[in-house]
Symmetry: C2
Subunit: 191 residues, 2 copies
C-alpha cells in the first residue's frame, strides 16, 4: 500500500490518532488504509465412503492435492463461497452440510473454513485451476502430497469423526492443532 | 479503489484474463486489486448467570448495546482477535471457550464470529469505543437497543443453549437465521 487507492497520492506508515497500530495513511487526503486477513472457503465433498480431491494446476503447491477451496468474494456468504469454489475447481454440485473446520493461519493472514458436503452426482471434472479431480477412499489419500496443512487437518478430523460416528466443529491455530491419531494399519502394527 | 496502491496510477474496472468477475486493474502496472470480505471477532463474556455488554460510543449504532467485537487484524488468530477486542472495548480479561457463532452478513461483506468466554474477574471498564460496560442477567438484556442483528442472534442462541444444557455452533446467513423462541415470561403468558 505505497499509494492511496482513493486519490493516488503517496501514503506514509504511522499510528493514526486514537489507534494503536501502524497503518498506511494518505499524505494528501488522510484516508487510513486498513489491511485485514482473508477467508478461504471450501468443502469436503463426499460420495459414499469417498472424498473428492483436486490436484492443483496453479502455484503455490502445483501438482499437490487439495480439497476444493478458494478466497471468499464480496457479496456472498461463506456457504455460497464454499459451493462456488467446489463448482469452479472440481465442476461438482454439492448439497452443503454443516460447518466442519475453521483454522487460523495467522502467519499468512488467512482463515480457512470447510463445510461438509454431499456430491449430488458423479458429474465432476477438473476446472481451469485443477490438473485432475478424483474420489479417494481413506486408505488411498495421498497424505504426503497434500497441498496445505489445513487440508490435512480437515481430512484427518473428518475420517476420525466418521469412525466415531459424530461430526463436530474443529477450530484453532493451525500451528498448534493436535491431529487425531491415524488408525492403525497392518503395516503400523508390524513396525 | 480508484488508484493503484502499488504505483499510484488510475485503475480501470474490467474482468481480468482467466477471471469471471469485475476487478480494479491498474492501467499502468496491471496489478489486479482484489476486494475480500472482512471478519469481525468477539466474545460472549460470562460471569455466573450474567453476560457483559458494551454501550457503543461510536457510530454506527452509537448508544446501543453490543458484545465486545471488532475487525480482525493481520497477524492474529480469530481467538486472539476476539480476546483483544474484549480487552479494548470492555477492559475485560477472559478465558476463551469454544467457537459459538459464525454469521454471514453478505450485504455488508462481513463475517461475524463469537467465542464463548469466562470473565477472569470483575475488573472491567469501558474502553474508548464504549460509553459504559455492565453485566446483564437474561431478563435484563435490552433487546430493543441491541446494536446489530448478529449480536441479538448470538445472545438468543446463547441463552437457549444454556437452558438446554448443550452449547453448539450456530452458523448461517444472518438474513435467514431462525432465532430460538424467547422463553415465556409472566407478561407473555398474560397477553
Amino acid at each position: 500500500m505505497k499509494f492511496c487507492s482513493a486519490c493516488g497520492a503517496p501514503t506514509e506508515v504511522r499510528v493514526p490518532t486514537g489507534d494503536t497500530r501502524l497503518r498506511a495513511v494518505c499524505t494528501r487526503c488522510a484516508v487510513i488504509h486498513y489491511v485485514n486477513p482473508k477467508m478461504v472457503l471450501g468443502t469436503i465433498p463426499i460420495w459414499e465412503d469417498q472424498v473428492l480431491l483436486c490436484r492443483r494446476a496453479i502455484e503455490p503447491r502445483l501438482g499437490m492435492w487439495t480439497l476444493p477451496a478458494g478466497f471468499m468474494e464480496v457479496g456472498e456468504s461463506t456457504a455460497d463461497g464454499a459451493m462456488r469454489e467446489t463448482m469452479e475447481e472440481a465442476g461438482a454440485r454439492v448439497r452443503l452440510g454443516n460447518l466442519f473446520s475453521v483454522f487460523d493461519i495467522p502467519h499468512v493472514d488467512q482463515v480457512h473454513m470447510f463445510y461438509l458436503a454431499e456430491l449430488c452426482d458423479l458429474d465432476f471434472a477438473a476446472g481451469p485451476e485443477s490438473l485432475e479431480v478424483r474420489l479417494f477412499r481413506e486408505h488411498e489419500i495421498p497424505w504426503h502430497t497434500i497441498a496445505f496443512r489445513t487440508i490435512t487437518a480437515t481430512l484427518r478430523f473428518y475420517f476420525h469423526d466418521r469412525r466415531a460416528g459424530l461430526m463436530s466443529v474443529h477450530t484453532g491455530d493451525i500451528r498448534e492443532i493436535v491431529l487425531p491419531h491415524e488408525p492403525q494399519t497392518g503395516l503400523d502394527r508390524s513396525s
